[in-house]
């Protein structure tokens, strides 16, 4: 049993989203849903986070930012793509600036489709991610070292 399930901390990043999914994520924090009762806290700091919630399809400008933020999250970590834009680009898929889905840039563990994704689905996705997180932690304990994905030069 790991303690990651009991105290997962979120980092929420808006990768060129229309803000619809972002509002739903923040709604999950309000007293109506109150995810803090599960020990979940929304940190603003990658170095404190376990779960990376990303909304929006990635564009060329924030691709590197996404990678940097992802790399500053200590292992074990999971990435959840919230909303259909983060999953595959959504209705903006054909746009010239959208790369289409964050899994083009960083590895994703859980997809939460929806436009906008509802708080209940988001919570469901987070709970699924917790199970994956636990598996990663157990795998980490048996491995001897973690390889860091080094970033390339700044664009």
């Amino acid at each position: 049993m790991t303690y990651l399930k009991k105290s997962p901390w979120l980092l929420h990043y808006d990768a060129s989203s229309c803000n619809g999914c972002d509002i739903e994520v923040l709604a999950a924090l309000t007293p109506l849903y109150d995810i803090e009762r599960f020990g979940i806290i929304n940190t603003g700091n990658p170095k404190h986070a376990d779960i990376f919630l990303v909304t929006g399809g990635v564009n060329a400008q924030n691709k590197q930012v996404l990678i940097n933020t992802y790399e500053q999250i200590p292992e074990p970590k999971v990435v959840i793509a919230i909303g259909i834009c983060a999953t595959s680009g959504g209705i903006y898929r054909e746009c010239y600036n959208i790369l289409g889905g964050i899994d083009k840039v960083i590895p994703v563990d859980v997809y939460v489709p929806g436009c906008a994704a509802r708080p209940e689905s988001i919570i469901d996705g987070v709970v699924t991610a917790l199970g994956i997180l636990e598996q990663k932690r157990l795998a980490m304990k048996t491995k001897t070292g973690i390889k860091m994905v080094r970033t390339g030069d700044a664009q």
Partner: protein, 637 residues
Amino acid sequence: MSLLQLLLYLILFPLITALFMLVSRKDPGLKAIIQLSACAICIVSFLVLLFGFDKGTLIFSMDPDPVSQIMFFIELVLAAYILYLGIRHRKSVTVFLILVQACLLLWFELGFSENLHIGNNLFLDQFSIIMALIIGIIGSLICVYAVGYMETYHHHHTEIRDRRNLFFGILFIFLSAMFGLVFSNNLLWVFFFWEITTICSFLLIGYSQSEEATNNSFLALSMNLLGGVAFMAALIYLVILDPAGQLLGLNFLISSGKAVALVPAVLICFAGITKAALMPFSSWLVGAMVAPTPVSALLHSSTMVKAGVYMIVRFAPVLSGTTEGLIIALVGGTTFALASFIAISQNNAKKVLAYSTIANLGLIVACAGVGTYNLMWVAILLIIFHAIAKSLMFLCVGTVEHRIGSRNIEDMGGLIVRMPKLAIMMFIGMAGMFLAPFGMVISKWAAIEAFITAPFGLIFIAILAFGGSATVFFWSKWMGKIISVMRDEPVIEDTVKKEKWVVLYILTALVVIVCLIFPLISSILIEPFILNIYGQTARLSQANLSIMLMMLCLLLIMPFSLLFYRKGAHYAPPYMGGRPVEGHMRFSGSMGVTRELVLSNYYLTGLFGEERLFMVGTSLCWALLLFAGILLAGVIL
């Protein structure tokens, strides 16, 4: 070898070295001579400690003539020289003061000197041993350092005339004068050596002969001359009181009791205040920072200004319990608080060190002015710890300045990468100034515990509490600046010469060692001295001592954890909002423009600005001094 011979050696031998410096031309053998002389002085100081520590107070009788005559003659020559320089540079205040002092000198010599019969001219007690060790060890280390420093200095500043022989000559004359000051029992001799140190400081500050240096040297000279006039007035008062001159013996004067000694004590303490650059006379020390760094390290932090507080601490038994003593202590305390506040707003490293020095001297005077037995213990401890840590800081800043070309703290960012050994030494020096369990905190702790039982102690505790937190602030932010890690910076400290490294290593080790052995120093030297004067002595309780030793050992062991940690850590860039950062914190900002991140410390100039606080301090202290003067006039009349 008798102790008297050792003392005379310490006073006279540096003069021989100085003479050698002054007459020979630029000679590659000069370096060896300086190093050998420095070693000799250091060793003889240790011999004085070895032979003298358990002897209590020793008074040596010797015939004052012809030494007194020679001193008088030199004083007149120097007065004439200063008069000439003052007229040439049109410094009316200096001219006025030197004329007053020369007149007083002539009046004294012509009116009173026939009847003088002073036999006890030199003496040695534990406090003199401590001062001699400080002068001998730290002074000689700084002289050795100065050789390499001056070479780089003239290499960088080709516009300044190379008068290195004069420089080193004056340094050794100064050392000789300092030894003379702490070993003299005859107040006339003390005054002579006092004025010699004033002249040395004047010549050394003006070394670069730029307009700013000349102005600042005359400022220092005038303020110190003002103190000299007060000193002279005290001497005349004493000789009028007792024409045979017995009261001119320091030992006898202090033990004569308050009724006799108070007036001259206050006058000499005024001279001490000007020499120690307390407010309202602090501007000369800040201005003296234009001098080359060894001068700042030797004269203006560890030795000459210590001569000022040395005299005040000597007179502490006379001042204790009197209103004048309390006023002098308040001048010291106000200086401590305000100088610490001003240091927060300074980004020039040497100015920060100058204000910190002024603040610590103020604290020593505050302890001495209230003058209870435990406060005197604290004052002497403060003198020791401050001298070592501050000289280390000055020398480090001097070396850093030569490598990075700037005195600004803001340019010292990331020093731990660029100059790792120096950064660690600076770290230890700064820790020695304000962190537990190093020396200054021990002194502050003992000071609070001592003030609480003293009359009006609450005022001083408040000053210590607020001023002390100000010191925490400005030292910590400087520390933080030098340990921030900026990757990919080249290491630039390999060009520092070996002699400088030796000196710096020794001083850093001394900071730690003195902290470890201070209970020994206290029981061997300080406590017997205080016991002798007050009949009771202070010490830190055994339990507290062991706890502090434990903390110090823990502190010394902790850095070894770094070896353990280097293996398991994974590296990530600092958080910049996710922006990709490279090398020197360059990031691509909006519109695709590459920007560089610049982080600067808080200087809080709105709250702690120099001009405003300086005005507050000067006015407060002038008011206090005038009040003391009025009281004194009442006593005389």
